[in-house]
């Protein structure tokens, strides 16, 4: 048995792997057989019959997109076979009889496979003189996607995508015969996070986008390859701009990362570039406090920054909070700026309060060969820890789903919830919020014991451990929300299994910030602050005698700022008010400290700032971004951005100059050269050891009636990408709480009922979904949600919350969220 077959296509011999479809084999010879329904990432369907070829010895001509190449076959395509050519012409004629000739109106005109293939393979004259099928012109299948059924050739690419790839088949084919049509169910709009992909793969103009409707033609769009900054997936995308304005974003094929897909947030989330709230000039608060900052020129703003940072020529105690969105170069510059110019190691790229051990675990992670998308697909068993992939890193969810569907991968979730992944899970190991590490340690122990002593761990843990042990390279994916010690425990588990681990943060370049050492104790190139040689190496490269002493993390920084010990908070695109869990701490810090912030769009924190410096968005600049895999991808500017806006690194270089220092570079190449001098060292630090959890395990079940709040934002929230993108925002899932049936039963609530969550000083009321995926004793609350009139930030609920059913009738329908501060 060989793994290849040799066949002849149009007289040319070719050897391809067994199972290769004829249409792909022909592609390898450079013969493009026309096709509509065929798509390399969708199952063959053979619906459009466009790709007919002649195979010698076969009774009928065959569709190249469904037929696997067989040894010794002689295949003749339209190039050499009259049968194939006339069959293809015939199918095109069939497709065109009911296709309206409204190409001039159609958004697809100019980039339309039907147009192109009709020109290349069709007859020039139509013999159809009868009546075309008529439907209402576009109907909305969602706020983002319009459907023009007249144009549809019923190739079923969209319905197959939603069924096979994204797994949310909201759209289906209805009716039959010539009246067959794509449609949605009566009461369910096409609310998929991946709906934009069906627009891109539609081979005609049947599915078009509301946001791109009549905006441009392909020939007047300037396309720039780019990398999405919506999350840490790192999707390749194409930014298409006209007259300096982004008109459309498409998924760009990158089989290693996003294959051919992206999510709607990445596709449609560019409205903020031109939003009214876009920061287009520096804002400076006048000295008498209390008023909103007002527009100023750069000279004023930078002078003000200097007087804030170094009022008397000496730099005052300052902390740099960088967020997880800065590209690698800017992250490096921010780190160097903080340590050399500001003389502080008080830097943190996180907006959550991380356990002290996380730094060590992250450092251990950064030095390792971490899991990739391909590893996930091939693993066979994937453990997700504290991760809701569809909401946090949607493209990772697609890859997990692909593994589940194509290789029957067994997916296991550890944590309080796994969101929509729940439908695909093989086993679920529910834990309290942040208590994942204990289960991971149990798994490691169960592996050790080799099943002899199974009564020690639960049967399911043993079962999962067996599954993990049964494959060569299982993958453990740890979300950023996973609790104390989870990452280290996952790392130890993966090492014990010979598998791979990865840390899946949410923000687009959190992994890059980690690699650039943007946290206290970490330094660029996997160096550690507590290693004397490595610290000296960095100091030498930066021309310092000694680096500043080890700094503090976010919680300590805010505490110290609130106490006046840290005078200035230098924020690089961080919305503290929205994202940080402790409202009191943030309020105090913002009131006490002077705040300088870089941002794209005005938000609650910029309103508190003393100086606001406008920066370019991802589409307006060049840089490098590191996705959760650790894959570094460069991107180029698609548009220029507003006139007075600068890149983060540019501003930092200028501020450095104002303070009389020199960072040693003035352009991106310079930064990259500087970074190259601190290239990653070859180090594989050990994972931090497991903590002794004997006491905490007992404390977890304290018998009170409070639940643990499981707070994280849904994919489409109130974030920057939804600003000025009404079509995208309209498809956000309704904010809802999630409860385990065991917790819902005592409250007497069921799906859709209103439930009030109270904790800290916050209280909010939302409809609830009762699902066994939510671990008992926890309640999911959407952070930064689109719930209307929301005053209380779910981040401020605190860890322990009480949950109460809203008495029926008291909740008014038009005001689903009731808030009492």
């Amino acid at each position: 048995m060989t793994d290849t077959v040799t066949l002849t296509i149009d007289g040319k011999e070719i050897t391809v792997p067994k199972g290769t479809l004829l249409i792909r084999a022909a592609e390898q010879l450079g013969t493009i057989i026309p096709r509509f329904c065929d798509h390399p990432l969708l199952d063959p369907v053979g619906a459009c019959r466009q790709c007919i070829v002649e195979v010698e010895g076969q009774r009928k001509p065959m569709t190249a997109c469904t037929t696997e190449a067989a040894d010794g076959w002689v295949v003749n395509t339209h190039l050499t076979s009259d049968v194939a050519r006339t069959a293809q012409e015939g199918q095109l004629e069939f497709l065109l009889i009911n296709h309206p000739l409204d190409c001039p109106m159609c958004d697809k005109g100019g980039e339309c496979p039907l147009q192109d293939q009709a020109m290349a393979h069709g007859n020039h004259h139509s013999r159809f003189v009868d009546e075309k099928r008529k439907y209402d012109k576009p109907v909305a299948v969602s706020a983002q996607v319009l459907l023009d059924r007249e144009r549809c050739v019923l190739c079923a690419r969209c319905t197959r995508f939603s069924d096979q790839v994204s797994g949310d088949p909201f759209i289906e084919l209805f009716e039959r015969g010539a009246l067959e049509q794509v449609a949605i169910y009566e009461d369910e709009p096409y609310e998929s996070y991946f709906s934009g992909n069906v627009i891109q793969i539609c081979p005609v103009g049947a599915l078009t986008s509301t946001s791109y409707r009549f905006k441009a033609r392909p020939f007047d769009l300037r396309s720039t390859p780019s990398v999405c900054d919506g999350c840490s997936a790192g999707c390749s995308q194409t930014v298409q701009a006209r007259r300096g304005q982004v008109e459309r974003q498409l998924a760009r094929t990158n089989m290693a990362v996003n294959e051919m897909w992206n999510c709607d947030k990445g596709r449609f989330g560019y409205g903020h570039l031109t939003a009214d709230t876009r920061l287009t000039s520096p804002l400076v608060r006048s000295d008498d406090d209390g008023e909103e900052p007002v527009a100023a020129d750069w000279a004023t703003a930078l002078t003000r920054v200097r007087s804030i940072l170094a009022p008397d020529g000496e730099v005052v105690p300052t902390a740099v909070l960088s967020g997880g969105r800065l590209p690698d170069e800017d992250a490096y510059v921010a780190g160097k700026f903080a340590r050399t110019v500001l003389g502080t190691d008080d830097v943190d790229f996180r907006t959550r309060f991380a356990p002290a051990s996380e730094g060590d675990a992250l450092a251990a992670l950064a030095g390792r060969d971490t899991a990739t998308y391909d590893d996930v697909e091939q693993a066979g068993v994937v453990l997700t820890v504290g991760l809701d992939p569809e909401e946090e890193v949607p493209i990772l969810y697609l890859r997990l789903r692909k593994a589940w569907r194509n290789t029957k991968a067994r997916l296991v979730s550890v944590g309080a919830s796994s969101g929509s992944l729940a439908e695909l899970l093989w086993r679920r190991l529910p834990t309290d919020v942040g208590a994942e590490a204990a289960v991971l340690d149990d798994l490691a122990r169960a592996l050790d014991r080799d099943g002899d002593d199974a009564d020690q761990s639960s049967p399911m843990v043993a079962e999962v451990a067996d599954a993990l042990g049964s494959v060569d390279r299982p993958v453990v994916l740890v979300g950023e929300r996973a609790g104390d010690g989870a990452l280290a425990a996952a790392g130890r588990l993966a090492d014990a299994l010979g598998g791979k681990v990865a840390w899946v943060p949410r923000r687009s370049n959190a992994r890059g910030a980690l690699d650039q050492g943007l946290a206290a104790g970490l330094l660029p190139g996997l160096r550690r602050h507590d290693d004397d040689t490595q610290r000296a190496e960095v100091a030498a490269a930066w021309g310092l005698d000694e680096l500043p002493t080890r700094g503090r993390d976010l919680h300590e920084i805010l505490t110290l700022a609130g106490k006046g010990k840290i005078k200035v908070l230098y924020l690089l695109g961080v919305d503290l008010v929205r994202d940080v869990a402790d409202q009191r701490l943030v309020d105090k810090a913002l009131r006490r400290a002077t705040v300088i912030t870089h941002d794209i769009v005005a938000n609650a924190t910029t309103a508190h700032a003393d100086v606001v410096l406008p920066v370019t968005a991802s589409q307006e600049r060049a840089g490098t971004r590191t996705n959760w895999e650790g894959r570094r991808q460069q991107f180029r500017p698609g548009v220029a951005g507003p006139q007075l806006v600068q890149h983060d690194w540019e501003i930092l270089v200028q501020v450095t100059g104002m303070l009389g220092h020199d960072l040693g570079f003035t352009d991106l190449d310079g930064i990259r050269a500087d970074m190259a001098a601190l290239a990653p060292i070859d180090t594989t630090p050990d994972w931090p050891a497991a903590a002794d959890r004997s006491d905490t395990a007992a404390a977890a079940d304290d018998g009170d009636d409070t639940l643990t709040a499981d707070v994280y934002p849904l994919l489409l929230d109130n974030g920057v990408h939804q600003v000025n993108a009404p079509d995208l925002a309209a498809t956000a899932h309704d904010p809802h709480l999630r409860l385990h049936p065991d917790d819902a039963a005592p409250l007497g609530v069921s799906d859709g009922d209103e439930v009030t969550v109270t904790g800290g000083k916050a209280e909010l009321t939302l409809p609830v979904r009762v699902t066994p995926d939510q671990a008992a004793g926890t309640v999911f609350v959407p952070a930064n949600s689109t719930a209307p009139d929301q005053v209380d930030n779910p981040r401020h609920l605190g860890d322990r919350v009480t949950v109460a059913a809203v008495a029926s009738g008291s909740a008014t329908a038009d005001q689903p969220v009731e808030v009492n501060a």
Binding site: A47, K60, L95, E172
Partner: protein
């Protein structure tokens, strides 16, 4: 009431009162075939089917024994038998009377077939409109369960056979075996991609065979009474008796049972000859999807091979006879409309080709035909034939292409006359529709 004729093989109990009741059925020799089957091995039974020369009665005429031998055994998955009772080919009405009058013979056939293919589960996919069929079958299945003929311990043999009756929703495409399986699974009834074939990946991805009602019933008799009993009828390559549905312009349309190989003219004579002694003009030998034949083919024997030789097909045994009073173009248009309406829409040629063909016919019959339309029709059909996903597209082209071949002059006449039929023809578009209905009543009364 009378038995079908001239042969009486599968229709022995058609004239028995209450034959649908298990007692009456057993009084008339019922459930003896199963007992014979329980004494033989599955391989023996499949060999008997092979020896009998039974070919599928649902239209394609594939040798049943061979089909059964393809079923993947030992895959660790269950094997399913699916009985295709979605009889909806225009002109075909052989399964319905069988299931209404003698449902136990089907149940018995299913038990035997299940034993032969080592299946424990059989589904009957009955056409949605078959109300009486469903009641009778359900009754028969219940009775069989009560007697222990079905269930966990068939006739005390320790073997299991279950039957589930499923009613379709009246779509012609669900008579196509893979579309039927999709429909049975609760999906849209659209044909599936093949390979993999149902024999390996059928219902719920398990090995499955889909057989016609008449085939399964016949299989029961063959195992019980031996292949020789079966192939005493018919010819060497087309063995066995065949339930025939004779309709159209004959004096006594209805169900008949003939041995295969009987000439069509003899069948027409058995049906009382042509109505009003009209002249035979053309006939569909096996339902509307078989290419039409003309009077000159009336004497060829009704066998698979002879029909193929005459460029037509035996199909389901639905002989539709038309005289010179009938317009070929109008008749074909009716079937084109049927296929256009019943196309599932999955593939381009059938969906769009049917839509287009129907419109061209409408134009021709409306007096708006153009000289080039006849070549256009042939071209459209040729672009459908062999290019469509399943055989429905091919079925659409059969009457079109065959009528163009045999009766092109009639088309040309309509082009010249702006859609007016020759005077001696009666339009089926208007008055005679009722006449047809009346005849159909006659047909059922005659069974």
């Amino acid at each position: 009431m009378g038995t079908l004729g001239p042969v009486t093989a599968l229709s022995t109990r058609y004239d028995v009162d209450r034959a649908w009741d298990i007692d009456v059925y057993e009084d008339h020799g019922g459930y003896q075939n199963v007992r014979a089957a329980l004494d033989s091995t599955p391989d023996d039974m499949i060999q008997m089917i092979k020896d009998s020369g039974l070919r599928g009665r649902g239209g394609a005429g594939f040798p049943t024994g061979l089909k059964w031998s393809f079923i993947a055994q030992d895959t660790g998955k269950p094997v399913y038998l699916v009985v295709n009772a979605d009889e909806s080919e225009p002109g075909t009405f052989k399964d319905r009377p069988l299931m209404e009058r003698d449902p136990h013979s089907l149940v018995e056939g299913i038990i035997v077939s299940c034993l032969a293919i080592q299946s424990e589960m059989a589904y009957i996919y009955a056409r949605g409109e078959f109300g009486l069929v469903s009641r009778r079958l359900r009754h028969a299945i219940e009775q069989a369960y009560e007697r222990g003929y079905l269930g966990a311990d068939v006739f005390g043999s320790g073997k299991r056979v279950d039957i589930t009756l499923h009613r379709g929703a009246a779509a012609y495409i669900c008579g196509e075996e893979t579309a039927l399986l999709d429909s049975l699974e609760g999906r849209r009834g659209q044909p599936r991609l093949r390979p993999p074939f149902p024999a390996t990946h059928g219902l719920y991805g398990c090995p499955t065979t889909v057989n016609n009602v008449e085939t399964v019933t016949a299989a029961g008799y063959i195992v019980g009474q031996g292949p020789e009993w079966f192939n005493q009828y018919g010819t060497e390559k087309s063995a066995g008796p065949k339930l025939m549905c004779i309709s159209g312009e004959v004096k006594r349309p209805g169900n008949y049972e003939f041995a295969l190989g009987t000439p069509v003219s003899e069948m027409i004579a058995a049906a009382g000859g042509m109505l009003d002694d009209r002249e035979l003009k053309f006939f569909f030998p096996g339902g509307s999807s078989t290419p039409i034949l003309t009077a000159e083919h009336a004497d060829i024997p009704y066998t698979f091979e002879a029909m193929t030789e005459a460029d037509s097909l035996l199909g389901t045994g639905a002989l539709m006879v038309h005289s010179d009073k009938t317009s070929v173009v109008e008749t074909v248009y009716r079937y084109v409309k049927f296929y256009e309406h019943e196309s599932c829409g999955k593939c381009t040629p059938c969906r769009e080709g049917g839509y287009w063909t129907a419109q061209v016919y409408e134009r021709i019959l409306d007096g708006r035909g153009r000289a080039e339309d006849l070549d256009l029709l042939a071209d459209i059909s040729n672009n459908i034939f062999g290019r469509s996903f399943c055989a429905l597209g091919d079925a659409l082209t059969s009457p079109v292409l065959s009528s163009l071949e045999h009766f092109r002059d009639e088309y040309e006449y309509l082009l010249r006359s702006a859609g007016r039929l020759p005077d001696h023809m009666q339009s089926v578009r208007t008055a005679t529709a009722n006449e047809y209905l009346e005849r159909n009543d006659l047909a059922t009364a005659g069974v």
